[in-house]
Symmetry: C2
Subunit: 127 residues, 2 copies
């Protein structure tokens, strides 16, 4: 009783639905500066120019864009105070803590993988 020539082979729909939530998650962590920014703002809320100094190497253009991304994903909030000159404080949200599980898994797996590959490389030289 063969209803479909691709029996047993998952449909494209099925594959996409398996992969998309994962790529969604990866997407929000994507880019050179997302993690450093998340971690530095977890240490303490900071102003734009303070972040520029504490995250070494980032430029104003890229920082502005990354902060917008993080705000859109609700990992941080932007608070403006009408001092003169203005004060803008970026502060990490409690929602950013929801990343802890993911980040913990990534950390442990990444650490383990580095060791694994280090050993494999060594064994290729001296088998």
């Amino acid at each position: 009783m063969k209803l479909n020539a691709n029996e047993g082979v998952p449909s494209k729909q099925e594959c996409v639905s398996k992969v998309r939530p994962i790529t969604d998650a990866l997407y929000v962590l994507n880019g050179k500066w997302k993690l450093p920014l998340i971690f530095t703002l977890r240490e303490n809320a900071q102003r734009f120019n303070e972040i520029l100094k504490s995250v070494e190497g980032i430029t104003p253009k890229v920082l502005a864009k990354e902060l917008r991304d993080l705000e859109n994903n609700e990992f941080i909030v932007r608070k403006v105070f009408p001092t003169t000159p203005v004060t803008v404080i970026y502060e990490s949200t409690s929602y950013s803590d929801s990343l802890n599980g993911v980040l913990g898994e990534l950390y442990n797996w990444g650490e383990q993988h580095r060791e694994k590959i280090r050993h494999s490389m060594r064994d290729r030289k001296r088998p």
Copy 2:
């Protein structure tokens, strides 16, 4: 007793060591085709041209490079059989199962996050 002007502020070393294992992990999943390839080869081992067909849109050049990456990370093995014409089978390893924890966390968080952002967008239109 102030020993250091940056007391309480983590050193750059400390930040790097917190972030690097995570970026290592993200790096191996990086790129447009890594996850589709991992998943398709978990379904069943396949030949080069079979993968080209089952992973819709990938080109030979990119596939060859991605397979090399996956092999270097020991997620797959490349098996060559001296038939004519040659048969090359790519097969996922049991080590690729070590990703299950990470992928599960990413999946759950990603699914939840998509919902969260969807609701936030709606509430911005109708507050």
